[in-house]
Every structure is written in structure tokens, then in C-alpha cells.
Amino acid sequence: MTFCRFALYLAFALVIVFPTPLRAADTIKIGIAGAHSGDLASYGLPTVRATELVVKGINARGGINGRQVELLIEDDVCKPEIATNIATKLISMGARVVIGHICSGATKAALPIYRDAGVIVISPSATNADLTLNGDYPNFYRTIFADNIQARTIVDFTVRELRAKKIAVIHDKGDYGKGLAEFAKTFVEENKTVELVLYEGVTPGAVDYSAVVQKIKRSGADAVIYGGYHPEASKIVTQMRKKKMGTAFVSDDGVKDDTFIKVAGAFAEGVYATGPVDVSANSLGRSAREAHRQEYGTEPGAFFDNAYAAALVLTNALAKAGGTDAEAMAGVLHTEDVETPFGAFHFDRNGDATGTTLSMFRVENGRYVPIKQP
């Protein structure tokens, strides 16, 4: 089987290197960039699938304004230096709109190139606040909440709902985790009723976190806010619970992943995490997930709904603007509400999606259950 797949990939490689003249000349090309191989592939591949599903439907219905849509899929393995190569590659292949990139660092590196070429970029997962807030990238939009918004939700929840007085903020030193933790730290410090008792980064991949856990215990924190991904979170939670610590654990959408519950098992119970709102109530979201199951035989992965939404708004803008003109498309993106799995939304001045797409979850009986916000 390995060799069959190898041969398939080789054939695929040849197709890409020597494009056959069979391709229709006048297609709309959408670039998809993100991590599709290596350890972060599970964050990037669902976006490819979501876009494929949307585009397949559109092409079956005759394309956008009579033009078929073609996808240019490129792997940046979440590395900034490779992301810039990918960006130039996509542009030279004729992509005028891009869905991606997946990681904030890679997105930040690639955006100036897209901006100079007048390419519209919609990311389903790059949460770094600067991307939209500092106004450098008018061509950038995202269907996910920015870090500052997420941190605000987490801190507010921890202070108001959990009534924590002493808060420890822990992060994984990474781009995403530390970015979020920095905001959480600022918000906790601004709030005079609570005290920040610990602010630390843990080393991802370390063999053991018991020293940090002892430190949390000693700090006397009522709640731990963790910025980062699930592998470290589950190690920390497991060791906390093994040491009989009942400290509340509140984290982000890097932890709101079913793998976290499976890995941490019973110790995951009672952990809080923010994440994109549950779309199972939305008919569009339900049918998208159903389509994924039929097409690929598995449950969709991380950021699938965000990517699905991104593909919908992007194709809508392409249709309404009557082409790939950046200004016309920007007009549509900023004003027109589009039905997505998250409900109808458009983009605000900065390029962030309007309306709420964020909610808080709690692990109950091995499942993430949304908490009703007052």
C-alpha cells in the first residue's frame, strides 16, 4: 500500500510539474495555503477539505458566473520562510484569492507579499491580534476570533463565573500560546479585584511538568489560565489532578480538541476551554459535516467550520464582485452578510468577522459541552 501511495504521489507530482493543456484556461483560481504535512498537518488539512467541498458544489452548479473554480493547494508546514515562497508561487500560478495560512507566523510573513500583489486572504485559523488590529494588512480577513477577544472571554469567565481571586497564567512559549497569555496577563492585571500570582512558560515536549505544577500549587492559584495546545495542557492537567489539586483549568481553542479528552481521560473532566461556537444547531453546519463524512469517511478536524465559512464568504464575494478585483471584493466582504455555519456575518473594518463566533465549553462525561453565557 505504501508503494501504491508513493506512485500516486509521484503521478500527482508529475501532473503539477507538467500542467496538462487539458485544464480550462479561464478558471477562477483559489489558493489554499497551510500546513499539510508534518506534525501540524492536522490543523491544515481540514481547511483543504472544507474548501474542496464548497468548491465541488459550486462547480457542479456551473461555477461562479459561468467560470469553474480551481484550487491551488500548497503546503507551508507553518514555517514563515516557506510561507513567503508559497505566496510568490501562488501568485505566479495566478491565484487572486487565498484561503489560509493556518499559523499566525506564516500568515504574517506571507501577507505583505499578497498585499503588494492585491490578493485577498481569508484565514480560518490565524488568531494573532496584530494581523487585523494594526491596520497593516487591509487585504486580510479571518473567520476566527482574534487572540485578544479570546483572552478577554477567558479572563472574564474565570473572574465572573468561576469567581477566582488568584489566577496563574501559563503558556507554551509558542506564537499562539504566548500571544494569548500576554493578553490574559494584561487583562488580569487591569482587573483590580483579582491577583496574578504566576506567569510562566513551559517548554513544549519536556518529559515532565511536575516542577511547574508544584509551583502552581505553591502560588495558591484558584484558577489556571493556559495558552497553548492540547499535548502540554493534558500533561499539566494530569499531573495537577494526580497531585490532588482541584485548581480550575481554563484554556483556549488549541485545547478544545477531542484529542485532549481522549489523552487526558478522566483527568479532563471539568476543564474549561473556549472554542468556535457549536455548529450542530445550524443546518448549514450540520450538512457540511455530513458532506465531509460522506466524502472522506471521517469526522472533520480542526477549523473545518471556520474554513467552510471562509470558503462560503469568499466565493460569494467572487460572485457578487463579478471577478477577482480586490476593491470590488473588499466592498462585498465588508458589507454583505453571508449565511455560514456560524450564522450570517460580514467583516468589520479590520477584517474580523462580526457577530459572536466564540463560546465557552466544559468537559462533562468525556465531551465538550457548551456553557450558556448569561
Binding site: M1, A13, T84, N85, S92, G105, K108, P112
Partner: protein
């Protein structure tokens, strides 16, 4: 060619069968079984084992044939005179006319490259050229002076971050940042050099590795200084006499700039190797004690090697920052050091043309293998092992007159 027909006897087939069985056994827990501990299920894939066994069987047979061929080849070679020692390439290279025309063709190809190929290809080529420069720089430390440095990426980071930070805080442009960063990197090279003066071989290796990690960790943790893991964005590309270049223009400009810098590097490194200090480095590599006995200042020689090696990394770092327009600590991991080291060793320690070839190979290969997705890195690892097994002296081994003293003190002897 071979007069004796090569054939496989029963022993070869027997050992091939054993090899096949052995590899089937090795693959058992990984390829035959796909575990899913979450659902507590196991998928069996026996056919994978059969493929592995078959591949091992055929490769083993191929290996036997290769060994027979080698034997016949070596026997024939020992009959002929020793001048055939030199490779075909080496012999061609020695002919002045061919060397000149080859160089001319190469220069023409290098100059017309961005005009013939797309921006993307040019962009990739810039990356490859950056690695050529890094390889040449590390070559001074590892290849020429024989100091195993596993933390070379630290100087690359110093260069990239000094441009990024100088530009951010003081608005210093590319051209002023280039020499400043080079000097800073050289300074860091000396800082690293001092504590490791007494260390040898692999002790040196781990300390340099640690140094590389320390630099990266500081960049990651010290937010106030380096903006931490979220990195520094919007680093300007080099300006062209105040003109505003389009993206395509900027990339082509950067390409020529990089080409010029690489040529400059080649020139300098080549001249250095034949200089007094270069001779001292070679002597240091061969035997430290004899070197001291000859009156070479060991401290100064080692420190210059570190400082000069670091200088190139610093300059390469500035180009990297200018090309990517974004830096964050994730670009400067140990794997990067390892790849640069691979370039030096694969190229043939101390050989300039070898380093250039190896850098192009190791950087362009994974890039063009991109459609293979996950198989790319698998192939990369396998190629490294295979290259070392079949050409342990590197692509281009430096031809130097050496003699082997009887009691040579080399650990792997």
C-alpha cells in the same frame, strides 16, 4: 564491461531471504499494525509487511550484485595505474579549457535564471543561495578548522534579528545593517569561542548546540527585547537607489544581490584558505598539539575561525530577514544547524565547490519534492544516510597531499 559475468549463488539468495524476514519483523509493530488507542482498535495491514519483505529481498540481492561489481572494479583498478583515482569530474576540472567553458556556462545560467524562470523559482533560488553562504561560512569552522559546531544557526539568528531590531527601533536600512550585523555576529562568535577554547571534539559540539539553543530561548522568552515568539514583521526589502520596486522586481534584485554576495563569499573563503591563517586552520584541524609546537597561536586561530564563520552567518541572516520580511525564533532551531552541517559534510569537508553543490541539492531537493508531502522528509533522511554510506568523503573530496602517520590519534580508527 565486466568480463566476469556476475551471478547470484545460493548463499546470496539465502541471506536475502533472511534480510527479508528480518525487515518484516522490524516492520511488524509499525507497518502491519495501525493502532488507535483512543478507540481501542487495531487495524491489521499484512500486505504492507509483504511489500517490505519483498523490497528488502530485492535490495539485498542488488547489494550482493553491487558488492561483486565493486570487487571486480577494484581488482581492475589496481591493475591500471593510479591516475584513474581521480574522478571524471576532477579530470575534466583540471583541464583549463573545459574549466573555463564550464564556468562561463554556469555564470550565464546564473545570470539569466530570473529572466527564464518565474518569481517563485527565483525566490527558491535565493533561499538556496542563502544556504550556500551559510554552508561556506560553517565550512570555515567545521571543514577547514575542524571545530564541530552544532549551534551555527545562532549567528544566523543574530544577523536576522539585528537587522530586524535595528530597523524597528532606529530605522536603519539594509545596507547599513549588513556590516553591523556581520560585526555583531562575529562578536558573538568570539563570545562563544572563549569558553570552548579548551574543549575538544564532541564536548565542543554539545556546548555549541547549547549556545544555539540559549540564543533561541532568549529570543523566545524576552518579549521586551525581541517581541518573543510572535516575531517581528514588516522588515523592508533592500532598496534600489531609492526606487520603489514591485514584488517581482524586488525578488529579482535580491537574487542578483545574493548571487553577488555568494561570489564574494567564494572569493574570500578561497583566498582565506590559502592565506597564513587558512594554513593555520588546516594545521589545527589535523593536529592541535603539533600545531602549537609549530608556534601557531591556538587561541587566536580558533577565535578567528569562529568569528569569521559567524560573520557569514550574520550576513546571511540579514538577507533572510529582508527576503522573508518577517523573523521569529521558530526559524532558528537545531534542525537548521543540522541541515547546514549536512551541507558542509555532504559537500566534502573544506571543499568550496562541494559545499555549493550540496547546498543546492539539499535545499532544492525538498522544495521540488514538495508534492510528495510527508514522504519528502522520509526521503530526505534516507538520502542523507545513503549519501554518507556511498560517498563518506562527500560529493567533492578535497585533494590534498597527506600522509598517515602510524599511530594516528583519531577516535574512529
Amino acid at each position: 564491461m565486466a568480463r566476469r559475468t556476475m551471478r547470484l549463488n545460493g548463499r546470496d539468495i539465502g541471506s536475502a531471504l533472511l534480510t527479508a524476514l528480518w525487515f518484516a519483523f522490524l516492520a511488524l509493530p509499525f507497518l502491519a499494525v495501525k493502532i488507535n488507542p483512543v478507540e481501542q482498535t487495531v487495524t491489521w495491514r499484512w500486505h504492507a509487511i509483504i511489500y517490505v519483505a519483498l523490497a528488502a529481498f530485492l535490495l539485498s540481492l542488488g547489494g550482493s550484485l553491487y558488492r561483486q561489481y565493486r570487487k571486480a572494479h577494484l581488482a581492475r583498478k589496481s591493475q591500471n595505474d593510479l591516475s584513474s583515482e581521480q574522478s571524471l569530474f576532477g579530470r575534466l576540472w583540471a583541464t583549463r579549457k573545459i574549466r573555463l567553458s564550464l564556468l562561463a556556462a554556469l555564470t550565464a545560467a546564473a545570470i539569466t535564471f530570473p529572466l527564464l524562470f518565474s518569481t517563485y523559482q527565483t525566490n527558491i533560488m535565493i533561499t538556496a543561495l542563502i544556504y550556500v553562504m551559510l554552508g561556506l561560512g560553517l565550512n570555515i569552522v567545521v571543514g577547514v578548522a575542524g571545530l564541530l559546531d552544532l549551534g551555527y544557526v545562532a549567528f544566523y539568528a543574530v544577523g536576522a534579528y539585528s537587522y530586524a531590531l535595528l530597523n524597528l527601533h532606529f530605522g536603519i536600512g539594509f545596507w547599513s545593517a549588513l556590516p553591523i550585523s556581520a560585526l555583531l555576529a562575529a562578536f558573538f562568535g568570539v563570545i562563544l569561542g572563549f569558553p570552548v577554547l579548551r574543549l575538544r571534539g564532541d564536548y565542543l559540539a554539545i556546548v555549541t548546540l547549547g549556545f544555539g539553543e540559549i540564543i533561541r530561548l532568549i529570543l523566545e522568552n524576552w518579549n521586551a527585547f525581541s517581541k518573543g515568539p510572535s516575531g517581528i514583521a514588516n522588515i523592508p526589502r533592500p532598496g534600489f537607489f531609492g526606487l520603489d520596486l514591485t514584488l517581482e522586481g524586488a525578488i529579482i534584485y535580491l537574487y542578483y544581490l545574493m548571487l553577488g554576495l555568494v561570489l564574494f563569499t567564494v572569493f574570500v573563503v578561497n583566498r582565506l584558505q590559502n592565506s597564513r591563517i587558512g594554513r593555520a586552520w588546516f594545521a589545527l584541524r589535523e593536529d592541535e598539539i603539533a600545531c602549537q609546537a609549530m608556534g601557531i597561536d591556538k587561541t587566536r586561530t580558533k577565535l578567528t575561525a569562529f568569528a569569521l564563520g559567524a560573520t557569514w552567518a550574520g550576513m546571511a541572516g540579514v538577507i533572510f530577514a529582508a527576503k522573508t520580511t518577517f523573523v521569529n525564533p521558530a526559524s532558528f532551531t537545531f534542525l537548521e544547524s543540522a541541515i547546514i552541517l549536512c551541507i558542509v559534510v555532504l559537500g566534502g569537508m573544506g571543499s568550496i565547490i562541494g559545499v555549493v553543490l550540496a547546498a543546492l541539492l539539499l535545499i532544492l531537493l525538498p522544495e521540488y519534492l514538495r508534492p510528495l508531502a510527508d514522504y519528502r522528509m522520509l526521503a530526505f533522511g534516507a538520502v542523507l544516510v545513503a549519501m554518507m554510506v556511498f560517498r563518506p568523503q562527500g560529493l567533492v573530496s578535497r585533494v590534498r597531499r597527506t600522509y598517515v602517520p602510524a599511530g594516528k590519534n583519531i577516535p574512529d580508527e
